[in-house]
Amino acid sequence: MQPFERVRRTRGVLAAAIAARALLWAAFATLGVMTVATASSRLGATDAPTVAWPLALMTGVLVLGAMLASWRRLTIPRVALWIEERVPRLQYALVTAVDSSATAAPVAALLADRVREVSWSAETRRAIARSLVRPFFAVVVAAVALVIARRVDVGRLTTADRDVAAVRAATAPDRSSPFARLVATIRTPAYAGGRVVRVESPVSVAALVGSIVAFEAPGAGQDVTADASGIAVPVERVGDAWRVSVTVGPRPSLVRLRHVTGDRVVALEPRADSIPTVRLTLPARDTVMRVARGAMAMSAEAHDDIGLVGGAFEYIVSSGEGESFTFRSGTLGGRTFGGAAGGALSASLGLDALALKPGDLVHVRAVARDGNTVSGAGVGASETRVLRVARAGEYDSIAVEGAPPPEADKSLISQRMLIILAEALERRRPRIGRETLVSESRAIGRDQTRLRKRVGDIIFARLGDDPTGEHEHTPGEPPHTDSEPPRVDPAAAAARDSMRQAMVRAGRSAREIAAADSADSARTELLRAASAATGTGQEILDFEGDETPIVAINRPLLEAYNAMWEASRELDQGETARALPPMRRALAAIQRARQAERIYLRGKAPSVVVDLARVRLTGKETGVANARTPRAAADPLAARRAERLAESIAIASRDAAAAIDSLVLLRVEALDAAPSLAAAIADAVDAMRGGRDATALLARARRIADGSTRARGPLRVWSGAW
């Protein structure tokens, strides 16, 4: 390519670069004008003027035109000179070569060869890049400025700053406020270890009841006053700081620090010291003894949230009968725990030393104390176990003490509770995974199984190896006698033969084998009776080994038993909905069982039936009409709390600091009566103090405060109802 052509090409590239640079500067000018116009309109709280864009465009065009003026200087000689300046090794060969008037043909060829050897592309690119960098960044900056001007409400920014500053004044350092560097030092009571915790700029302090909280800040503390729940607290001068000390009481309270520059409010949230929990492991059950000899081992475990001081076993010996009783009491096995969080107790109660007589009762329990010196030692006690010494002739007497129907074991969850748990799980079904559903359903199923076994115990009372025993029948049912052949099916007979042979091989005696036989017959009989009672198929009964069951046939309990089987099966598969109907049938059956034939462990209670018709209104005296006083509303403060919350929310849009104070006060008052409301308010206050949007949190607090929407639904035909 001839030098002239090369220079012309370079001229084209430079022209494009000039054009690009001009465009960038024009864009910068346009964006700059738009940014200024937008910001001005926002400051003036008016819409951006409609001429803004045309004005900006005009500015851009003018700038473009001005920048493009340098195109005129892009002549061939000028471009060649520009190249010579950047490529010295050309040694003006290029300038000469392009000056056609001054160059003869042979020289032109020489010059062309000379020029051909040199490339100036790299220098050209560098020069162009340098020239475009600045305008490019200028455009970027202008674009960002325009975006900010359009999004940020500049007009309110200055006033919003003032508001934010006012809210922050409550928490952020204000050099002139004595509360600027407020620190709370919390010292737990001595019995809890006297630990010290420091909290800077506290909003609320949660501490054990009895803790001392000292609020300190540098400065003389002049004109600072303080009160806790309205009671004045003195301000002390300590070195170059001031201090206010309060004690955390049992109720939530507010500490208000006042100064001319502003107030500071801190909530005190008391944490109560729990009483120790004690579990008696031995003796495991109540006991009846014929002769009280030897020693009864006792053991227990105790735990406390802070620390145990001591523990012991307590016993009360009751002697007497009828209306005359005497009591002796004592403790044993006492020990100290030295402040440990947990510990064990053990002792042995010498029954000989107690000189127990027939009819005597010994109540034992384990007791542990914590070291609470503020409100008094918390005392926790275990369940009580009773040791009874049987009276002489008690086993031969038919005069029995009355007792109500036996309940399921106290530690067993009742059938009603199981229904509630299953219904709750069924309601949660859409929101939980299959695994969780099955796991929780099986947990309920296990409790159902335990209850079922207990019911089974009541039905199938065990009396050891007596094959006959006693049993009751419901009216109309023929009694089972030994002379009757057991009614079994062939399969069961084959199984029993097999079992008999196994027992022979194991060396069991004939009596044992007969007992097992009878157990099996009775089992089959029972199976049939249970099925007949409940109208269901054969059910598996849970007998163990070769125990001989006694059948106390109680039809409703059998029905409950079968229904519980069905429920357990469904619960094991996570089918709570299918388990609920049999669970309810079981409950209904239990209810009927209580009202039907009663099964007493100790016999029937005496009852006197009053002849109401005979005695009705035969009293010699008459009563006197009297007045009743009305009950108070359930929570009269709830409505007031809701009102105050709504007022605080309405204030928040005008005065955030006042709203925060109002909310903190409300939160402290709600800590006891409405803890969920207090927690919701705390979240909202945190957000407001942090300058975040608290709208959703305040709405949530409001819903908790007054169940804001008490009722919701479609338009009703009869309003006011549910």
């Binding site: 465009l57 219904e423 309601r427 309810r584 009305p630 359930a634 709504a646 929310i649 009722a711 006011g720």
Partner: protein, 432 residues
């Protein structure tokens, strides 16, 4: 000699110049052309400014394009312009959906506001007050809300409307009279009402001539009582008075089988069916009243409104009797629900009885003196139509000023762009 490319370029430059001149000519022509004498349409964003202008320039006909139901101020302004003789039309840039909202005080001892909302299905609507959002309907529709507290005015906001209202009234609530025999049902019913905040007067019979009383006792009339609750048939001695009370505007709750009493059967919602026992154990379940015994409302009158059912039987029903209202509830042992129910049973029992009384209580409205400076706009779309008539079809709408200014800007951009293009091309190829 110019190359083909150069010649094409020159032609293109001349073409760009021609386009620029053509656009300039069109602009000149448009500038000379007068604006249409009528049918000025206003974009929603600047409507108030244009209303002010029209008020002074008084065009013969105006058209407003709305993208949302206008505020009461704009609506009233349009109505005024229309009434002044200006032909006023409006159309919607997008469908404006109807909505209506009303608020009234609930008949509850601790106050409260009931809000009824009817909105078009398909558009989400949120309901809130000055203190913030209260509730929302994701797809619109109808709703009835009861709020314990309301701050300021209530607003229902949809995409194309904002309706507002305020509870303008309060109520004067008098005590509730409970009549019955001393027993668990009367005890816990009175307890529930009192704990809920109702003032209760009561007369509980213990023995002949011996009653335990409470509160203002006198003739049963609406000046004394908001409602009368007859717990059991011991209310027979006051049955006539109760019936008269109901007919004169009072609210009556007939519990258990009290509707069998001669005078009360005439005001009851229906006759009393045979007692149906509750499902054993169900009182602790999620449907506790299924565990209670009930005398169902049998042969309900034609104007009776069933409020609660158990399977096919109606357990609670209400009806109007002349000026009053009567609710018949067949439950006679609701106390079992409170005692044996689940964790929320006490509060639920309390609330249920309160609502029962609230459904019929006589509570005359007391209108407040003023609503302050709160603007009420309960039916934005209906009010707009009432003010200026129904919407005019969009097709018939005249050209808008917005269109004119947009066209002008476009032509200007064409002029500038064409000239720049021509100039740049000439400079790039070295021409002047």
């Amino acid at each position: 000699m110019r190359s083909l490319a150069d010649r094409a370029r020159v032609i293109a430059e001349r073409g760009a110049r021609a386009v620029a001149f053509a656009a300039l000519a069109i602009l000149f022509w448009r500038a000379l052309r007068p604006p249409p004498p009528s049918g000025v349409e206003v974009a929603g964003a600047s409507i108030e400014r244009d209303l002010a202008r029209w008020t002074t320039t008084a065009p013969a006909e105006i058209h407003v394009r709305l993208d949302a139901a206008p505020s009461p101020l704009v609506r009233d302004w349009l109505r005024a312009l229309s009434r002044s003789g200006m032909r006023t039309h409006w159309s919607a840039a997008r469908p404006l959906r109807p909505v209506a909202i009303v608020a009234e005080p609930t008949v509850e001892p601790d106050g409260g506001t009931r809000v009824r909302l009817a909105s078009a299905v398909g558009e989400p609507v949120s309901i809130g007050d000055a203190a913030g959002l209260i509730d929302s309907l994701a797809t619109g529709g109808n709703a009835e809300l009861e709020m314990a507290t309301v701050e300021g005015d209530l607003r229902a906001r949809g995409t194309t409307y904002t309706a507002s209202t305020i509870a303008r009234d309060t109520i004067a609530l008098r005590p509730v009279l409970v009549l019955g025999v001393a027993g668990w049902e009367s005890k816990f019913t009175i307890a529930a009402l009192e704990e809920r905040g109702w003032r209760v007067a009561s007369r509980l019979r213990v023995a002949p001539g011996v009653e335990i009383t409470q509160g203002p006792l006198g003739a049963i009339d609406t000046s004394r009582y908001a409602a009368v609750v007859a717990i059991d048939t011991s209310a027979a001695s006051s049955a006539d008075a109760i019936a008269r009370y109901a007919r004169s505007g009072g609210g009556v709750v007939l519990a258990g089988n009290t509707a069998r009493l001669a005078s009360l059967s005439g005001i009851a919602a229906g006759s009393v069916g045979g007692r149906v026992p509750g499902i054993a154990g169900a009182v602790a379940s999620a449907a506790p009243r299924t565990g209670l015994g009930v005398f169902p409302v049998a042969a309900a009158r034609s104007d009776a409104v069933p409020l609660e059912r158990r399977s096919a039987a109606v357990t609670v029903a209400a009806r109007r009797v002349d000026a009053g209202r009567v609710v018949q509830t067949g439950y006679d042992e609701t106390w079992r629900w409170r005692m044996s129910g689940g964790e929320e049973a006490v509060a639920a029992h309390r609330e249920w009885w309160s609502r029962l009384v609230s459904a019929v209580a006589y509570a005359p409205l007391v209108r407040r003196a003023s609503t302050g400076d709160v603007a009420i706009d309960e039916t934005p779309l209906a009010s707009l139509i009432d003010a200026v008539g129904p919407a005019t079809s969009l097709d018939a709408a005249p050209r808008s000023n917005t269109d004119r200014s947009r066209t002008t800007r476009l032509l200007f951009a064409i002029v500038v762009g064409a000239l720049l293009l021509e100039w740049a091309s000439r400079r790039l190829r070295g021409a002047r």
